[in-house]
């Protein structure tokens, strides 16, 4: 069911008063009549109006009368004025609306009997409400014409059901910022199409499906949903998207009879996505119902899996772990938790490792993406999370995006930035070695060499100090150790930096001034900053930049790491890290240690455990012997996967708990089938620290079980009784032990999630951090100096390889590669190669190349493109057929232990 978490748009200013249908109502200046009516529960019919779009005034269904003014007026375009007296439903209005609907239906193919939208179509609703006469006007056949969706796996357009309301065209332009669509022709033959009727997938379309979601009829509909159940038979369950850290609120539309997710919708007004979603959220759910989901526990015998009962599998797991602990000590065991599973799952997993295994050897893939954020921002500010909220990015005067391909990796945040720039509300500065979609709209693109971020930022700080643009009061009152940074950047003039970064000194100065002079400025960054052997330094230098200019601790100004996985923020928050319990409470703090020993009634280890890559190394050396992996796939995601394989094979006992038999699960001794996000209750915490509900929409396949409940059973069978009534009960234990989650209960987050810190049940959550004072007291400057990446190109390996992601796929591809639309859009990876390099190597676009590093070799097709600069090549890591991480280096940041995914040296050769 959908909770009513529709938020009001706009801010409070002086209100005006007007009357609608006899009630006196308050309105904000600038609101249209339809908006005022809607906010007060008065329903005015509409086809072309969508709260996310500028008014169109095309359908004329929203006609109203205004006292003292002649004729009828469209409520969607007419701005409310003080004292207006509006009537929305007189006889004259109703007659006119009836005629309009009759005319629309004469151009419509009214086969509601076979229509998928039956039960959720505005035209049908109004036709019924106004009891129209279907035969009053002769039916006019619509022109067929070329159809831009022919053969399309995502969506199809049916001109005969189109009411030409323009919603699709406008949402594509105004919200998505793509402008793939238009109306073709005039009068009777008008139809929606792309430029020159180009097939949709060949057009600029991003396949976000926003157009489908905005369509009031069935004219645009998901191809795969056709025939899978009529709208009136679908049950909607609101939940949180399982892909990226934006945490879009989605409604899974389930056909109860078949138990399948038929389509995914959302609702304008929801936080944080306002009804929007990206291609993965909209078209990436078919993995849930795939036949190859794990349905039964598997035990490996003589090198092959056989199915087993839960009892058998759990006993084996508990016995083996207990034996190993006895024989080799607690530190011979380790657990990998998961940024894909819920907060509750993560909490229970780290509790198992700490209280039952007796070690702090628990970590998860955050190590691979934002460990340097957690380490760096905690040192500088005292808290390693996004300082501001997603919504603030829509109105931040200057946004500095560095090392984040936002449009592809956090798509709904990407469109927010695009909208802000298009509306002229935001100036955008981008620093990225590649050309990305945001560089097209940036006022300044700093294209620095991979791995030279510290130099670039230091030079910006240098320029800011040189121009006297630093915020002296802020530095004085709110920070410490500024002098050390002043000294460190003194030698790093933009001219010097130009030599290292390859960016023009004037551009560095310009970007620095834009940033420093903006009324408020936010830094947005992601793995381009963190995934380096200098990741923590990179993060520290961004914190320096923000503090020098006083751009932190207030609205629309801060340092904002975009977290990758749907619940990587939550997995960190809940203590799936080797040095902290939930809420970043340190394991080596005696008070905290005592508190958890008491609460859990167990003896706990007070020294930090091993990180992901360290666990692999320890496994290879037989120091770690038993490993429990929940929902992670290091065989694709970790650096240098040949080494990962050796490590996993060296283990005495490996348990993998997942929803599919992943590349990692294949190496396991026992495989435990888990429920997917669509089959469970719980919470995810998105990148803006918002704890949001996950709700069960479909039944799990076979015997698959909740992750937390499997973990509880393992604990219990190892002699430590653990059980919870449901996920909500786990959240209550979390709240009791975790100050930042102290006020979070399922009841409070039923409609809109809460942002931590939320210490008690009366606290409204925290929109932005460090107001007035930093979490750690004063903000601490850290001098950082440039260190080159660990492996630089040389004669033998002359190219810099940098890795990243694609819009259409997710992480190790376990989910998205099984989704029809997504795999159809991008069925394999490519190597991005600059045209100049392609020419030198005699590589034709699309031809196969081999990429070799000191650690491995893969072959795949070349994509010759200006997106990468000369000397640099780019790969995504989603594809098991040519895994990028066969090549990457496990060189670690000394503080955060994050591997250097973004830079290694490779050789490219033409194949055949």
């Amino acid at each position: 069911m959908i909770p009513a978490n529709e938020v009001r748009r706009g801010k409070n200013v002086d209100t005006i008063t007007l009357t609608i249908d006899g009630s006196e109502l308050n309105a904000e200046p600038g609101q249209t009549i339809i908006q005022v009516a809607e906010a007060n529960g008065i329903e005015i019919p509409r086809l072309c109006h969508d709260p996310r779009l500028t008014p169109t005034g095309a359908c004329r269904l929203c006609l109203v009368e205004i006292e003292g003014q002649r004729g009828l007026h469209t409520a969607c375009t007419r701005v409310a004025e003080p004292g207006m007296d509006v009537r929305t439903s007189t006889n004259e209005i109703r007659e006119t609306r009836k005629t309009i609907i009759e005319l629309l239906l004469s151009e419509h193919d009214p086969r509601c009997t076979t229509c998928d939208k039956d039960g959720d179509c505005l035209l049908q609703d109004y036709a019924y409400e106004y009891q129209i006469d279907e035969t009053r006007f002769p039916s006019i056949p619509t022109h067929a014409g070329a159809n831009y969706t022919a053969g399309n796996s995502a969506m199809r357009y049916d001109a005969a059901k189109c009411v030409r309301c323009m919603r699709c065209v406008k949402i594509c332009a105004e919200v998505q910022g793509v402008e793939a669509l238009t109306l073709r022709d005039r009068a009777g033959s008008v139809a929606v199409t792309t430029g020159f009727d180009t097939p949709l997938y060949d057009s600029p379309c991003e396949v976000c499906g926003q157009c489908v979601s905005a369509c009031p009829t069935a004219a645009l509909y998901e191809t795969a949903a056709a025939g899978q159940g009529k709208a009136k038979d679908l049950v909607k369950t609101r939940t949180t998207c399982p892909y990226c850290g934006v945490g879009c609120q989605l409604d899974l539309n389930v056909n109860v009879a078949t138990g399948r997710i038929v389509r995914v919708t959302s609702s304008p007004g929801v936080v944080p996505n306002d009804g929007n979603a990206c291609v993965k959220g909209r078209f990436g759910m078919d993995f849930v119902g795939k036949e190859d989901r794990l349905t039964q526990p598997l035990i490996k015998e003589d090198g092959a899996f056989r199915t087993a009962t839960w009892d058998e599998a759990l006993d084996l797991v508990a016995t083996r772990f207990t034996e190993m602990k006895k024989q080799h000590g607690p530190d011979a065991l380790a657990g990998l938790s998961s940024a894909k599973t819920t907060n509750e799952d993560n909490y229970v997993m780290q509790k198992l490792v700490r209280a039952v295994f007796g070690t702090n050897n628990v970590d998860h893939c955050a190590r691979l993406c934002h460990a340097s954020t957690v380490a760096g921002l905690a040192r500088a500010f005292g808290s390693g999370a996004m300082t501001n909220s997603i919504e603030e990015l829509r109105r931040t005067p200057l946004v500095f995006v560095i090392g984040s391909n936002t449009t592809e990796c956090h798509p709904v945040i990407g469109i927010l930035i695009r909208q802000a720039v298009a509306a002229g509300d935001t100036t955008l500065v981008v620093a990225d070695p590649r050309k990305i979609s945001l560089t097209d709209i940036a006022c300044c693109h700093l294209r620095h060499r991979p791995g030279t971020d510290v130099t670039l930022i230091n030079a910006m700080i240098h320029a800011i100090i040189e121009e006297g643009l630093e915020d002296k009061a802020f530095i004085e009152e709110r920070t410490e150790d500024f002098e050390a940074v002043r000294e460190a950047v003194a030698e790093c003039s933009p001219e010097e930096a130009a030599k290292i970064t390859g960016v023009d000194a004037d551009d560095i100065r310009r970007a620095a001034c834009l940033y420093a002079q903006a009324p408020s400025a936010s830094i947005v960054y992601s793995m381009g900053i963190t995934q380096h052997s200098t990741g923590t330094d990179n993060v520290l230098s961004l914190a320096n930049l923000a503090m020098v200019t006083g751009n932190v601790g207030k609205e629309c100004a801060g340092v904002n790491p975009l977290r990758g996985q749907n619940n990587v923020q939550g997995a960190c928050d809940l203590g799936a890290l080797p040095n902290v319990y939930s809420g970043y409470q340190k394991v080596d703090d005696p008070d905290i240690h005592a508190k958890f020993e008491k609460a859990w009634n167990a003896k706990l280890d007070d020294k930090a455990g091993l990180t992901v890559v360290e666990i692999m190394n320890a496994a290879a050396q037989k120091q770690v012997r038993g490993l429990y992996i929940m929902g992670e796939n290091p065989m694709i995601s970790d650096p240098d996967i040949n080494h990962v394989r050796e490590a996993l094979e060296a283990l005495d006992f490996l348990v993998v708990q997942d929803i599919f038999l992943t590349e990692t699960a294949e190496l396991a001794d026992v495989v435990l089938p888990a429920r997917s996000f669509a089959e469970k209750d719980g919470t995810f915490t998105n990148t803006e620290r918002r704890v949001q509900r996950v709700r069960q929409a479909v039944a799990p396949p076979g015997d698959a079980r909740d992750d937390w409940s499997i973990v509880c059973d393992v604990a219990t069978r190892m002699g430590y009784a653990m059980s919870y009534k449901d996920a909500s009960a786990i959240q209550d234990e979390i709240a009791a032990l975790t100050p930042i989650y102290g006020g979070i209960t399922y009841d409070r987050i039923a409609d809109v999630g809460l942002q931590w810190p939320c210490p008690d049940s009366g606290h409204p959550g925290t929109q932005f951090l460090h107001e007035g004072a930093f979490k750690r007291g004063k903000g601490k400057f850290h001098p950082v100096r440039f260190l080159p990446p660990k492996e630089m190109p040389d004669d033998e390996y002359p190219f810099v390889l940098t890795t990243g992601r694609l819009l259409q796929h997710w992480h190790t591809g376990t989910m998205t590669r099984r989704c029809e639309v997504l795999d159809d859009l991008v069925p394999h990876g490519t190597l991005e190669l600059n045209p100049a390099d392609a020419e030198k190597l005699d590589v034709a676009p699309g031809s196969t190349v081999s990429v070799r590093s000191r650690r491995g070799r893969i072959t795949l097709p070349a994509n010759v493109t200006e997106r990468v600069g000369p000397g640099t090549v780019f790969l995504t890591f989603h594809f098991k057929e040519h895994p990028a991480n066969a090549l990457t280096i496990a060189a670690l940041d000394p503080i955060a232990k994050i591997p250097e995914f973004k830079v290694c040296a490779v050789r490219i050769e033409k194949v055949g």
């Binding site: 065209v169 430029g195 020159f196 180009t198």
Partner: protein, 165 residues
Amino acid sequence: MSCACEIDMSLAGGVLDSMEEKRRGEGRSVTTQDLIPLLQEVQAAYGYLPPPVLVWISEQTGIPTSRMYGVITFYSQFYLEPHGRHTIRCCQGTACHVKGSKRIGEAIKQELDIEEGGTTDDMRYTFEAVACLGTCFLAPVIMIDNDYYGQLTSNKIPAILASYD
């Protein structure tokens, strides 16, 4: 859609350059606001609007092809296929029909050896049948470019057609 390799892109380059220069004078660049004049000039240069040229212009200016296509298909003055130097519009409205517009159309087709909607091989004429031209008192009527010819008989056709080059 015709193949890009047969099209002389330099014409489009010229159109765009001169428009960009004008806009620079006004302190801005060529944007979607300039779409209609831009299309008119491209059509003047090529005689029609070759889609590959428009795709190229879209890449240069950032004006989406969807916008272009919407505008082009909305206004009857724009052509996406090669078009004759002159356009003959032969009225098929009720008044003209009654006064024998059919015979006039036949005469044109015969004289130029083309079909309705077609263009002569020498690119001199494109022939279109249209609805009422709004000058029914002159029926039957044809229009060549901006000139009206009314109260026609088929024997007047050859001479009229011969007067355009």
